[in-house]
């Protein structure tokens, strides 16, 4: 240690945050470790119940003659202001109050306890964690695996492939594109999603460095950082994408009709189908669950095989798994939407004209079932079974009034406590589309807080209001079937009124949830899913795309809800990390491998060579 004028006396205070995320940590062990560190004069625990009182703390600091204070805990920052004040009251230097934030260094679980120890050591020496804790670099395999081929996955893949490196793009579905392919327009510029995405999809499909593994899922991951061995399950497509020329002969003869996932079930598809005309690979695929031939093990049907002019259909194709070796893995599994049926009072599933956001995206899409006409669902008798079904008929009457309800399943402790970040804006987009296509229709927005935060978003909100959309600040309570259409009841908070009026169509701005299987994937990859199921980034601020494992990155919504621009930015950000590692030929191993002792030594060394002026900038004189 560099000799200092007055003897250093450091006090360490452990705070139990209300989050309860520290349960996994062995606090006594950490405290014991802290006592052994140089210049540590006192190690105390703060009362989790009471809010610390500055006067008492000041007395403590004086009693123990502390010159420096370290607050350790899950989110110790919550106590920094009071300690800083106490320090001043005790005549100390406020700059010498430091944090050892376990949450920040991902030490929420027992597995990462070493990070917690290291964090304490770094704080004691006054050296930022990131400087002292630098996991070793290991050689990296130049290939990359991208899991999930939505806009995030495609963007990352294109960036890396564009730089001349191999990318395996694994997608669960039969086509790449993800949710964005389903959208009609994108906010706030209102340019069509297809125009933006399809070129990217085609580029990805034709890129010699991108190997698309559709109908595939990552089964398990072995190996070590820098060289992961990934086993990918390739489910049977039953149609050879190379041979298929996307003529629809097979589709026409297929007798099975099932709701189309791509169209959110508002139209039907066959058991042999192509999700949408621009699907990549541009080839048909057989849905094994519903194909008669597959279900009857070859006893029934098989009409498509006979019809196919290119003999591209092999109904007997078996799934197989493939072994890949990659240096970096990018997780871009995106999201699924909240199941609106969980909120009974909105009547989704019972009232035919209560639609979810994605259903409306399909309905209003120029390539959707009604060619983009916004119509109400009408009843129709099924030809065969004679039973009634509700369908979107191009000739059906357009809704005279549309209500859009925000925060469905979001910001609600009974469902998802978090904000889904995109709903406000896409709701405004919907309002615009309604007004554009049905100028006479009344359109209502029921919102809690209008979160128009991005570039041009607030302006878009103003524009929507100018277009004559009624924005009601208040959450709708219930939707019930009325004499003609439905009756919606909600409070108009700012006008202190209950609004109860008939509407023809209700759009539920359903929130986002981690994609199905994200938890499983987290286990397979051994990365942390956060409390809400979104993958935990290595550092909220400085490392929003890395994870606790070296060479494994997260991109896009699977890390937390975000809109397309932010997703694309993050996706490219990941590419930077991957390319960086490939170019430099090495990748850092995960932070779970931190050795606290090592970290302590490094911190001590850095502290001693640290220049006299404080490492962080002081308050600027300008502005």
């Amino acid at each position: 240690m560099a000799p200092t004028a007055s003897p250093k006396k450091i006090g360490i205070f452990f705070s139990h945050a209300d989050t309860g995320r520290l349960d996994g940590l062995d606090i006594p062990r950490i405290m014991a470790f802290a006592r052994e560190l140089p210049d540590v004069a006192a190690v105390e625990e703060l009362d989790p119940e009471a809010r610390p009182d500055p006067k008492i703390l000041a007395e403590t600091i004086q009693r123990l003659q502390l010159t420096e204070v370290v607050i350790a805990g899950d989110t110790p920052g919550g106590h920094k202001p009071v300690f800083t004040r106490a320090m001043v009251m005790a005549g100390g230097d406020p700059e010498l109050v430091r944090l050892a934030s376990f949450g920040e260094v991902g030490a929420a679980t027992g597995a990462a306890e070493n990070s917690a120890l290291a964090a304490v050591a770094c704080a004691v020496h006054g050296v930022p964690f990131g400087l002292a804790v630098t996991p070793a670099r290991v050689p990296v395999h130049p290939d990359t695996l991208v899991i999930g081929a939505g806009v995030a996955g495609i963007e990352t893949a294109l960036r890396i492939a564009g730089a001349g490196h191999k990318v395996h793009l694994v997608e669960r579905a039969a086509t790449i594109g993800g949710h964005m392919a389903m959208f009609d327009k994108t906010f706030p510029t209102l340019d069509c999603a297809a125009c933006i995405l399809t070129p990217k999809m085609v580029a990805a499909g034709q890129h010699e460095n991108i190997d698309i593994l559709n109908c595939s899922e990552v089964q398990d991951v072995g190996g070590v950082a820098g060289e992961y061995k990934v086993r990918v399950l390739r489910r049977a497509r039953r149609v050879d994408p190379e041979a298929c020329v996307a003529c629809h002969a097979c589709r026409d003869v297929c007798p099975v009709r099932v709701p189309s996932e791509f169209d959110e079930g508002i139209v039907e598809r066959k058991a042999i189908y192509m999700a949408f005309p621009q699907a990549i690979p541009n080839s048909y695929v057989v849905d094994g669950e519903n194909c008669l031939w597959v279900k009857s093990e070859g006893k029934k049907c098989g009409a498509c095989v006979k019809k196919c002019p290119k003999d591209a259909i092999h109904l007997d194709e078996e799934p197989h798994s493939e072994e890949l070796t990659v240096g970096n893995i990018v997780v871009a599994t995106g999201f699924d939407t909240f199941d609106a049926e969980l909120i009974e009072r909105y009547g989704y599933g019972k009232l035919p004209n209560v639609l979810t956001a994605l259903e409306f995206e399909r309905l209003t899409n120029a390539s959707g079932p009604t060619g983009g006409r916004i119509v109400t669902r009408t009843a129709r008798r099924k030809r065969k079974t004679k039973q009634e079904e509700w369908v979107f008929d191009t000739e059906a009457p357009a809704p005279r009034s549309v209500a859009i309800i925000h925060c469905v399943g979001s910001r609600d402790q009974n469902h998802n406590p978090y904000c889904s970040r995109v709903c406000c804006m896409y709701s405004l987009k919907f309002a615009h589309l309604v007004k554009e296509k049905l100028p006479d229709a009344a359109c209502y927005q029921f919102y809690i807080d209008m979160r128009a935060f991005g570039k041009g978003y607030e302006e878009f909100f103003e524009r929507i209001k100018d277009e004559g959309v009624f924005v009601v600040r208040g959450r709708t309570a219930r939707i019930e079937a009325g004499t003609d259409g439905m009756v919606i009841r909600g409070e108009d908070v700012v006008h202190d009124r209950i609004r109860e009026f008939p509407v023809d169509m209700v759009l539920l701005a359903v929130g986002l949830e981690p994609a199905r299987g994200a938890q499983r994937l987290a286990k397979v990859l051994d990365i942390h899913p956060g409390c809400d199921g979104w993958f935990t980034e290595l550092n909220y601020n400085t490392d929003p795309t890395a994870t606790n494992r070296g060479g494994i990155h997260v991109a896009g919504v699977c890390q937390g809800p975000k809109d397309i621009p932010d997703t694309v930015a993050q996706a490219s950000a990941v590419a930077a990390r991957v390319l960086g590692s490939i170019i430099s030929g090495s990748v850092r191993v995960g932070r779970d491998s931190v050795s606290p002792e090592e970290a302590a030594d490094t911190a001590a060394r850095l502290a001693s060579i640290k220049t006299q002026e404080e490492p962080w900038p002081s308050e600027p004189t300008h502005t």
């Binding site: 510029t189 979160r451 991005g454 909220y540 397309i564 950000a573």
Partner: protein, 577 residues
């Protein structure tokens, strides 16, 4: 008409997709008679391997020098057939496709008419391909060094990211220190991590990394050249200039905070105890959270959207203020357990990860939230004698419909972000554009959020629009990714399809200079004519169409080629088959 050329025409049946409606044989016969056509064939699936082999074979055997494929949309299989040509040692640009599936057989019922149309399209393709020239993909070297403007969190991230990948970076900072606005913040929302530590980490990394040259008190005064081959002139404090050859420039010039004095009602500058968020940060950090006369405040009032979401000042939302305000709620309660915190907001934009949770926890600390109408700012006035507070904030509270006096000893104004005063200067220097609010405009918000119309110039962080630290870092990394993309290739590929100016024909009228959205055309006053910087050209052809003297040619979309095509589609249309 070029009679020397030997063209092979291949008409695809695409199973029955084309043949069902279009009589491929007939089309084949008609084009076969054309003088420049050496051979014409039909096949079930041209795209299939046998189909492609057929082409390569013919090229070798019949010595074809040009190929027409009448099949599906070029958007689908042009790359496929270009490969086939290359395989046979032909320049890939000697191919032309006629789209007789998507735009013919699939959309028409009448076989006769469809066949006629298919023939026209194929004929046009033949006429066009006859005028094709072999084109070579152009390449320019890429200088691996990168220039980063601005030493804030965005700039630091870009620099460290690139340096970690082993690349050289020139980090240009106007001020005498690195860190930018984050350096004025103590804790970050929502987890109250130490902003000082995260910044210290980056700064030390930047200062100690030999690959990063930090130039403090310096500004970029001139930028010449094009992607991969820029020369940036940096002027230092002492007036001296240095020139740096760089491949790319990343602009991370950040923001200024809104000047709160502009909103009179809030009394900033009038009442000493009305302070800005940055001033509060300073007081929190120095452990002296006191009023001007050194009292411990009992009531602290936070006002959101100061200068934001307001037509008079800035229409946009500054994106970070709400979260920061909630963070202050916590910090103030921590420093002053006795104090009552009131929070005057318009909409609570706690949207990020952990945001809603922070909002909930702040409410549970008994922060009093009052909602005011957008643009209807509260009025701050001195309290009457005998009041237990120094100031009163009068607000028309929307959730109760009442006009409320909020007691306050300290009023904190959440000042929004605005474009830096000198941003237009930066924009001019590096050749990028700004929106009405002065933020730099990205090429495309979704396709290319960090690129600009000037290739090789990227923007990241708050200079593009307000954003919080994670989003800034993500964008900075995205910019780094773009740069690394170039570096990985070591060269910039210039699309073979670009505009060329015939110096002899150019009258120097400079119409094209103004038109080019990529400023790829420069006027050379000495020569008295304009010239296209091929590396910058995106081959839209707007200039070509505009050139009054027809001096500009769009390679692979030349006037001749298109005129031939026009001739071609019309030649037979008068005579119905």
């Amino acid at each position: 008409m070029n009679d020397e050329c030997r063209i092979g025409v291949y008409i695809c049946n695409c199973g029955t997709n084309i043949a069902k409606v279009v009589n491929a044989e007939r089309v084949c016969h008609r084009v076969a008679d054309l003088p420049e056509v050496a051979c014409a064939r039909t096949y079930k699936y041209m795209c299939s391997n046998p189909g492609q082999d057929m082409i390569t074979q013919d090229i070798k055997e019949h010595g074809l020098d040009r190929v027409v494929v009448a099949a599906c949309s070029p958007r689908m299989h042009e790359p496929t057939f270009r490969k086939a040509l290359e395989a046979a040692g032909l320049n890939p640009f000697m191919l032309e496709m006629a789209n007789i599936r998507e735009q013919c057989s699939w959309v028409h019922d009448d076989p006769a008419k469809a066949t006629a149309k298919a023939a026209d399209l194929t004929h046009a393709a033949v006429r066009r391909v006859a005028r094709h020239q072999p084109l070579e993909k152009q390449e320019a070297p890429y200088t691996p060094a990168t220039m980063v403007l601005g030493g804030g969190i965005a700039g630091l991230t870009v620099a460290v990211e690139l340096a970690d990948a082993g690349q050289h970076v020139h980090l240009i900072e106007q001020e005498g220190r690195l860190g930018g606005n984050v350096g004025r913040v103590d804790l970050t929302a929502p987890y109250l991590d130490s902003a000082r530590d995260l910044l210290a980490e980056k700064i030390v990394q930047a200062e100690t990394n030999p690959r990063i040259d930090v130039h403090l008190r310096s500004t970029l005064t001139d930028l010449q050249g094009f992607v991969g081959n820029f020369t940036g002139t940096v002027t230092h404090q002492d007036g001296s200039d240095t020139e740096f050859p760089v491949g790319s420039v990343v602009v991370c010039t950040g923001y200024h905070e809104f000047d709160a004095t502009r909103v009179e009602r809030l009394g900033y500058g009038k009442h000493l105890d009305v302070i800005t968020s940055f001033e509060l940060e300073q007081r929190l950090r120095s452990g002296r959270l006191e009023t001007a006369d050194g009292r411990v405040p009992r009531y602290v009032s936070i006002v959101h959207c100061v200068g934001s979401r307001n037509v008079k000042y800035h229409t946009y939302c500054s994106r970070v203020c709400c979260m920061t305000a909630l963070k202050y709620g916590h910090e103030i309660k921590s420093a002053l357990p006795e104090a009552m915190v009131t929070d005057l907001y318009v909409d609570m934009l706690s949207f990020g990860k952990g945001g809603e949770d922070l909002y909930r926890r702040t409410s549970e600390l008994k922060t009093m939230f009052l909602m005011y109408e957008k643009e209807d700012y509260p009025v701050v006035r001195a309290a009457e004698a005998g009041d237990d507070c120094g100031l009163l904030v009068q607000v028309r509270e929307r959730l109760s419909g009442e006009t409320i006096d909020v007691p306050a000893d300290l009023v904190v104004l959440m000042v929004g972000m605005q474009a830096r005063a000198d941003s237009d200067q930066v924009a001019r220097t590096v050749g990028i554009s700004q929106d009405v609010e002065g933020w730099f405009i990205e090429s495309h918000p979704k396709l290319a959020p960090v690129s600009t119309p000037t290739e090789g110039v990227f923007i990241a962080g708050c200079c593009q629009s307000p954003k919080d630290i994670p989003d800034t870092v993500a964008q900075a990394r995205a910019a780094a990714a773009m740069v690394l993309g170039y570096i990985a290739q070591g060269k910039v590929e210039v699309d073979a399809r670009y505009a060329q100016i015939d110096g002899d024909l150019c009258s120097g009228c400079r119409v094209c200079n103004e038109l080019c959205p990529y400023t790829a055309i420069a006027y050379d006053p000495d020569e008295g004519r304009s010239d296209v910087q091929s590396a910058l050209c995106k081959a839209c052809g707007t200039c070509v169409a505009a050139c009054p003297s027809g001096a500009i040619a769009a390679r692979h979309f030349t006037d001749e080629q298109i005129l031939e095509q026009i001739e071609g589609v019309l030649a037979w249309s008068s005579s119905q088959p």
